[in-house]
């Protein structure tokens, strides 16, 4: 299944097909001749109000697609920076329901920027998979990255996500060999998230050489856009990745800036939002080749 040949999912007529935002965005950027800047911040980090202000500011600062991390107590694919972000968010009462509320509020002022929720399966299970997919689509979510649901367990959530019109974006890792790639890609829609390192988020970066080898390998198997993530920190790295693939995902570097701007007790300061958005601006300029 690819983005183009999937069946049209059931949807209500009074809102746009949610998954179409991702395809539309990548198509528009392709026409512009550049790749996408995908940003990641954890929902509710460090509090709901700041998190919403960041979300609302991201498109203007140059984010093309937005990943919202769903806080979880045991984020086993994440490095220390995102672990701490989750702890800050949980401390102020973040829940999956609350994150959907954030997206709903964001959608009031922005109907074009794709929103992807990224997180772990257990909060979705606790919410109820069926109800979650319906509510997420209704809130304006376009795609899901459920880190700990590999293609082998796709039956857990894929039917519900498809029925709700949500893209299921899958991770492809350096360990995903050619024999396995078709299986992973067959279970992917929206775009492919290439995890550029064997490791957890924000701990090290891939070499340009390894990316130059990896991206064509994946392209042979899919026509979906490919975004590179895990380990992209600087504008230069983001620019290179966005040129080599179809998008660059920056998460930990933004979370680090956010964390460094906080008071000692972990609460936001007046400059928190501005500092993070300035960094997004610098990344966006590099992705746009400026």
């Amino acid at each position: 299944m690819t983005g183009s040949d999937r069946e049209a999912p059931q949807r209500s007529v009074d809102r746009p097909h949610p998954a179409s935002r991702i395809a539309a965005k990548f198509a528009a950027l392709k026409a512009e001749g550049r790749g996408a800047l995908v940003t990641y911040l954890q929902g509710y980090d460090p509090d709901r109000e700041t998190s919403l202000a960041l979300l609302r500011g991201l498109p203007g600062a140059g984010a093309d697609l937005i990943e919202v991390g769903v806080p979880f107590t045991d984020p086993m694919a994440d490095g220390p920076a995102i672990q701490r972000a989750a702890q800050r968010a949980l401390k102020v009462g973040a829940t999956l329901e609350g994150v959907l509320g954030l997206v709903r509020d964001f959608r009031q002022g922005d109907d074009g920027t794709p929103i992807i929720l990224m997180g772990y399966y257990n909060p979705i299970l606790a919410y109820g998979v069926d109800r979650f997919c319906v509510d997420a689509a209704a809130a304006g979510v376009d795609g899901l990255i459920v880190v700990d649901v590999p293609p082998e367990e796709a039956g857990e959530i894929e039917p519900q996500a498809r029925a709700a019109g949500l893209d299921l974006i899958r991770l492809v890792a350096p360990t995903t060999d050619d024999a396995r790639l078709p299986r992973v890609l067959a279970a992917t829609s929206g775009f492919v998230y290439y995890v550029s390192i064997t490791g957890i988020t924000g701990t090290r970066s891939a070499t340009a050489a390894s990316l130059e080898e990896a991206i064509p390998r994946i392209r042979k198997h899919t026509s979906l856009p490919i975004a590179i993530g895990f380990g992209i920190r600087t504008p230069q790295q983001a620019g290179e990745a966005a040129r080599l693939a179809d998008g660059a995902v920056v998460g930990t570097a933004l979370v680090d800036t956010l964390a460094a701007s906080l008071e000692e007790d972990g609460t936001a300061r007046p400059e928190t939002v501005g500092l993070v958005l300035d960094q997004v601006g610098a990344l966006a300029a590099a992705v746009r080749g400026r």
Partner: protein
Amino acid sequence: MNKPLPNTYRQGPDSQGRFGQFGGRFVAETLMPLILEVEQAYEAAKRDPAFDAEWRRLLTHYVGRPSPLWFAERLTAHLGGAKVYFKRDELNHTGAHKINAVLGQILLAKRMGKTRIIAETGAGQHGVATATVCALFDLPCTVFMGATDVERQQPNVFRMKLLGAEVVPVTSGAATLKDAMNEALRYWVANVQDTYYCIGTVAGPHPYPVMVRDFQSVIGEEAKQQMQAAEGRLPDALVAAIGGGSNAMGLFYPFLDDSSVRMYGVEAAGHGVETEQHAASLTKGRPGVLHGNRTYLLQDAHGQITEAHSISAGLDYPGVGPEHSWLHELGRVQYVSATDDEALAAFQLCSKLEGIIPALEPAHALAHVIRMAPTLPKEEIILMNLCGRGDKDIFTVARHLGVEM
């Protein structure tokens, strides 16, 4: 949900690693190819008589198996009811049952060409067993251990270091077993090429629950034969402590289809299952997904994992092996619990009556035996897995009893 065939409880898991709805392979893509490689290697090793022969040679001459079956005569007289037998896995080299599965897994790692071993540990028993076997096979070993557990299990930390292992204190979360497992998985993701993750219990992504169960089943297989020799029949009840549940699965599995044998898994009730301070995942939790498998978990209404509590670092885990979740829902095994205080009392009683200082983990099982034996007729037989010895716990127990050491 898949139902088992009515005539066997021993056919699981299915090809997806599921015991009914429980189990599975909930890991990030980076690990998935490696999990499949472990599964393939294990399937091949199982069919190789040379692998089994080498494992059994080590069990006999290095571990000291078979472990004895001991009729606890003074305890039986004291309780005044059913006869109580101990399966004495505390006499194994390294002092617990953990080494049975560690030997199997390290032999597997060698077959796979892995050159570095990592493990998580709570009480330190699995860490010590892994460090021991790594010393024997000259493999570098890194053990992840919650910083809280490093504090309360100092003797085992020192043991691991003596054996040449690196002990990494984990400070994230509550800094106990759950967090050590997260950190081991994170390290593994970053070192997939050369590293084997030696999991200490019947949990984690498939094939770990079935593989660790198979290796630990040596406990139940031996006990079945030994009971036949001692009493000429099967026991009436089996009792074992449950953290992740490896010693219990090892004892129960060979008896699962013997319908006359009742089985009791004893969870850690900490300060009481009516409080927030316990580790009773089956008694008080509900199904969810953590550490690669679907199983009963301690979690809040929003699916966030809550901290477990137990005086025993080995039971201080908010989950349980998926096969236990399945046996719980089928009703084949009764899952009960014992508090910190009940375990402390059992710890002391066993020391005084039998001259055996048990680990705090099997002291929970013994607490249930103490409740149960007096209610049963004298002809009945209870078999308890005494899965670890208490040397590592004497400091903890002394502190709880107000003794300065």
